[in-house]
Symmetry: C2
Subunit: 503 residues, 2 copies
């Protein structure tokens, strides 16, 4: 085998993996947008077959040999090819280290867990779901030992979602957040002004909200010839390649801003995928590098841009044009205050910008304890209640508004939640760096976000998965991640919004 032959084999292998990913992604997208209700069985059959075809294609001795050969000829490879070999080698090790029967058993467990969780949440029946948490955690601990026998199992899973992330980083990160946010919440409660957001909960016809989504995507400089928008129960972003990205939202007739911020948030994810370098197409590098970096992009647009006064000033004429009866008597500043109203609450996905990360912290603390064995699974509801009270000051009335609210654990995702918080915090530091090149408020005031999008493309998007998250972050910001940027941002923003004494 010559290096040239090996590279063309590597390229073809990646194209095949990409095509299978495109196929399963499309079948998934159909399932949550269009498919009739009774079609799960055949879809499951096809997904299973395609996934085993992907496994056979990738996790075999030929791949191992190919990757080994290319590592041995590293100096004949381009930077991109080297990176492809690195990423695929990691993937190969991850895939091949778990015995196939154990992997299949885990997929079966998780499938069952998901449907049990749905029912348990509906019926507020935590004990029905508890044994699944127990079994899933036990399996994940075993798998972690296959991957990295010398590492703390929970660290292994954190690393899966955000390479390099560890409990020691997160402990420090959350400690800093807690130190800032908890007192701020108290001051808002005790000293803050009253903010009226009742006008956000009028009647907003869905047809008009759809027009609003189109407008928001236009402002965000999202190229609609390469990015569609659909409607699903839970908003998400999926990309098939950099020229074919789809976002979804969910419209609520009695709530204007729920879909508005879904569109802006998912639009942020979409811009990342749309801005990747052409040269990465159909390779394993053709995706955002990590959960945390991805979330930094969506949260940047959702919170730092979307909840800024400059952005409200830009879009408010359109908002009033679309909803004259509902918002004709409300001025832009009132709207700005309303969309930033902070109030401790029970449900993570409805949480405001200030309290959001504390919801994540509750989950992080519990996941750590589950992995260390410091909490019994049946004690989780109590533990959840205690932590929610301590961090957010709220009482949890039942498990469906508490420990059963999120789907992640039933899907086998432990170590995933922290990336939501870390990404949110990344965004503040990236903003700080961006401000050295751009005046963000002026960019927004110019009429659309093209200038901001171009900056992000240049500093983040175009690299796809060329660099690990910490490396990419350092390249972008010129320094390591520091949560101080985020806490400073929150303090400044919410002190002003709630008119708190700055002393």
């Amino acid at each position: 085998m010559t290096v040239k032959e090996a590279i063309s084999e590597l390229t073809l292998l990646q194209k095949k993996m990409h095509a299978l990913g495109h196929a399963t992604g499309m079948i998934y997208l159909d399932s949550v947008t269009t498919a009739p209700v009774g079609t799960a069985e055949g879809r499951g059959e096809t997904m299973g077959i395609l996934s085993s075809m992907g496994y056979e294609l990738f996790a075999n001795p030929a791949t191992e040999k190919l990757l080994k050969f290319l590592r041995e000829h590293e100096d004949e490879l381009t930077e991109q090819q080297k990176r492809e070999v690195v990423v695929l080698t990691r993937e190969y090790e991850r895939t091949s280290k778990i015995p196939q029967d154990e992997y299949v058993a885990f997929r079966v467990l998780v499938n069952e867990a998901q449907s049990v969780w749905h029912k348990a949440k509906d019926q507020d029946d935590f004990p029905a779901f508890a044994p699944y948490i127990e079994k899933i955690v036990a399996t994940l601990k075993k798998f972690a030992a296959y991957y990295k026998p010398d590492e703390e199992p929970y660290n292994v899973w954190l690393d899966q979602y955000e390479r390099g992330l560890t409990m020691s980083t997160l402990d420090e990160f959350f400690a800093v957040l807690k130190e800032t946010i908890v007192p701020l919440i108290h001051r808002i409660k005790n000293e803050g002004r009253q903010i009226d957001d009742s006008f956000l909960h009028g009647h907003f016809p869905i047809e008009k909200q759809r027009e609003f989504s189109d407008y928001l995507m236009e402002v965000m400089a999202i190229d609609r010839s390469h990015c569609g928008i659909g409607e699903t129960e839970h908003p998400f972003t999926i990309d098939f390649n950099k020229r074919d990205v789809r976002i979804t939202t969910k419209y609520h007739e009695d709530n204007l801003v729920s879909s508005m911020f879904s569109v802006i948030h998912e639009g942020g994810h979409a811009l990342y995928e749309l801005g990747k370098g052409d040269e990465l197409m159909y390779t394993c590098l053709d995706s955002g590098i990590s959960m945390g970096i991805h979330e930094s992009q969506s949260r940047f647009f959702e919170n730092i841009v979307g909840r800024s006064e400059a952005f409200v000033n830009l879009i408010y004429p359109k908002v009033q044009e679309l909803f004259p009866e509902q918002l004709g008597n409300i001025d832009a500043h009132q709207f700005y205050l309303a969309i930033n109203k902070s109030e401790p609450s029970l449900i993570r996905i409805d949480a405001d910008e200030l309290t959001y990360c504390l919801h994540v912290m509750v989950r992080y603390e519990i996941e750590k304890m589950l992995f260390s064995g410091d909490v019994d699974v049946y004690e989780l509801p109590d533990m959840w209640g205690r932590l929610m009270k301590e961090y957010l000051g709220v009482d949890v009335p039942n498990d469906k508004s508490g420990v059963l609210q999120d789907s992640h654990w039933s899907g086998g995702s432990f170590g995933y939640f922290p990336s939501y918080a870390i990404g949110t915090a990344y965004a503040a530091q990236i903003t700080h760096r961006m401000e050295q090149d751009l005046n963000i408020d002026s960019e927004i005031a110019s009429g659309n976000l093209k200038g901001i999008v171009n900056w992000l493309e240049e500093h983040i998007y175009k690299y796809g998965s060329m660099y690990d998250p910490a490396d990419l972050f350092f390249r972008c910001c010129g320094e390591k991640f520091d949560p101080k940027y985020f806490t400073d941002y929150l303090t400044k923003k919410f002190t002003k919004i709630y008119d708190l004494n700055q002393g």
Copy 2:
């Protein structure tokens, strides 16, 4: 290899082929319903890769060996397994007989031809498209010689779409049709009453038409949990398996019956796919057997049921409820006459039940001449005009309303058109047979078509691809195909509708 092992290999191979088909079908469905306009490139890439994965999976010596082994152990196989081996062996021979480079070159030619045809049609520029017809026919003649060197090339292609169909059958078939229909058209023109259908061309809001589609599917006893409806430029039906079928329609605000008959027609295709036997799922037998039989099912519902007075009587209260302003003053009989108005016209897809098959005949005559070399491709517009005048009595003003109107030739489909006509004629004979067991009008009057659907499921649907079309037809009807049933049906129906002297 034991027979048991071979069978499980055969099953897995079919499941993989099915999964790839599901995947490409879904990507296609997305492309015509939801995909943003700029996404063709990545879709083409994935479709190409998935199609070559399918080729590699199937057209290789292991498949040949497997099929040979199973043929040698035929007596140890079930009827269904035997049939799977037969169908896959045919498919294997078809696939492996064409050199891969020639096949790829043909796909490239056809891709180009399709985009040239689009432009040529827009610009009424036949000479731009003519060389592609020439090249495509030349290639198809060459391929036909690879398949069956001793057979007339055009017969080889007829057989691809309707196994067993030949020019001699079709010559006779079309002669009988022409003999009946041409004089009938003249009598309608000269002696028939005037039928007013102007009220079908008012304003019919699309939202109401969507409700109408739902109602029609309910009447047709289509299980909506397994059959969705979407909207596309050209209506079609696609199935992923018997429990996941999708139809599409196209709404025209100024035309109520265009979408109505699309829904009924595609609903007929859908019922066929929904009614296949469970035991065929994920095998090569899990689809309707042929173009002709499929068309017999769609045309049966569209024409024989959907354009019957019993059906109009059933649905008309709903029609008036949905469109009170437009149709409040029109009675059911007027509506029945209007949807059956027959008038020679230029465009096949807009043709009425009586004249439709003559449009197909024009194409059939021309295809035959192209394959025999009896016409030069540049003479096609003249030839088209002459035949349209002879069969339908109309003058063709330009090529976009003439020889350029259909996409089929640009896609490489020659020998396909006749199956539209033959299927339409099958439907009449199937109806005759059904009448021996059921009173169709009473079934319709009962409120829905469940009784009719059950009969078709028992006599046609459930067999999927278990039998070749002629065998299935014989099993169903107890006799061979005879176009007389169709000409009798047309004569009787249109004599009555146009109040012609029966002498």
